[in-house]
Amino acid sequence: MRYLRAFFGFWYDFLVGDRPELFAGPIAALILAWLTVRANLAAPLSGVLLFVLVATIGSLSIAWAIRD
């Protein structure tokens, strides 16, 4: 049990770390992009949307880091 906790703890630190928004944000952005693709939104728009969402998540994370 201790090893299992350490294993998952390691991967949590590795991927999520102290900025969970940088883990959850891109996943949410990809889900939104997938939904726009499913809704037959024009292809370039889905791509632009993904780029804008990723850039927004990064910007927000930086803004929060400075505020902290």
């Binding site: 991927l15 770390g17 990809l30 992009a33 499913r38 780029f51 850039a55």
Partner: protein, 277 residues
């Protein structure tokens, strides 16, 4: 288990043409090389500190053990992902991880460049490691020094895991684990060679600048591949990668200036507020 035909999509993938293939391979090697170089510089700092303060033989055995474990990891997981997992799933999951990981690197690099986060200082880390190792019990006159072995192996394994992660994610998404591993191996050989020659931590390597460039690359490629995975039909094919890289690089540079401006404003406010009281 069904073996997947992960031949890249002829419209976008590396098989579109020899030129397309070589350019993707080149970018894969370059990205893997830069990312790995940064991690190897950090690993070399730890290895040097252990070797200089304790025992080189046990330190090098620890390094070899860690490198063997990492090679095995890349070979097993890299091959398994490429051979058994459908390319669309690889691109969503692995491309998604690349995007998450790259965005983390990029935001940290922006904060470092803007002065909001301490820059990586290999010389200071080296001194700290040496001080910590000197506090350990003395090295036995004969036989294996397990402290040297453990600290060196752990350092190389932890830094190397990031290299393995990048090689597997980058290589699997592009269907090019080989070129990605080649880039990482070349970086390892170069960093190790220089460290052996100069025999001190590679503090003059522009680590923070490299991390900035790697962050842009990982985020750009992660967006492209994960986007393809969710079904985005990128209008310009592979050329979209260049647009994504340029876009993220431009935004990151703007971000550095905004962080600097924010910190300067805060310092000015802090300096003027006591006078107002």
């Amino acid at each position: 288990m069904e073996v997947q035909d992960n031949t890249p999509d002829p419209k976008y993938g590396p098989s579109a043409s020899m030129a397309g293939m070589s350019s993707i391979a080149l970018v894969t090697v370059l990205s893997s090389f830069l990312a790995s170089a940064v991690e190897f510089v950090e690993a070399v700092t730890i290895v040097l500190a252990v070797g200089v303060t304790r025992q080189w033989r046990s330190t090098l055995i620890g390094v070899i053990a860690a490198l063997a474990a990492l090679t095995l990891l890349v070979a097993i997981f890299g091959t398994a992902i490429v051979v058994f997992v459908p390319i669309d799933v690889v691109r969503i999951v692995v491309g998604g991880f690349l995007l998450i990981y790259g965005l983390g690197w990029l935001t940290k690099a922006v904060l470092r460049a803007g002065g909001a986060r301490a820059k990586h200082d290999e010389a200071a880390i080296y001194e700290r490691e040496i001080a910590a190792l000197r506090a350990e019990p003395p090295v036995s006159a004969t036989g294996m020094d397990w402290i040297s072995f453990t600290v060196a192996a752990k350092g190389v394994l932890l830094e190397g895991l990031e290299v393995a992660f990048i090689v597997i994610t980058f290589g699997a998404s592009a269907g090019m684990v080989g070129p990605a591993a080649l880039g990482a191996a070349a970086a390892g050989a170069l960093v190790l060679g220089v460290a052996v020659l100069v025999h001190r931590p590679l503090a003059s390597v522009p680590e923070n600048g490299l991390k900035f460039a790697v962050g842009v690359m990982l985020t750009g490629f992660g967006t492209f591949w994960a986007g393809e995975g969710v079904g985005i039909d990128w209008p310009a094919g592979d050329a979209t990668i260049l647009a994504l890289l340029a876009g993220y690089a431009a935004l990151a540079i703007v971000g550095v200036y905004l962080v600097q401006a924010r910190l300067t404003n805060r310092q000015l406010r802090a300096a003027t507020s006591p006078a107002e009281d």
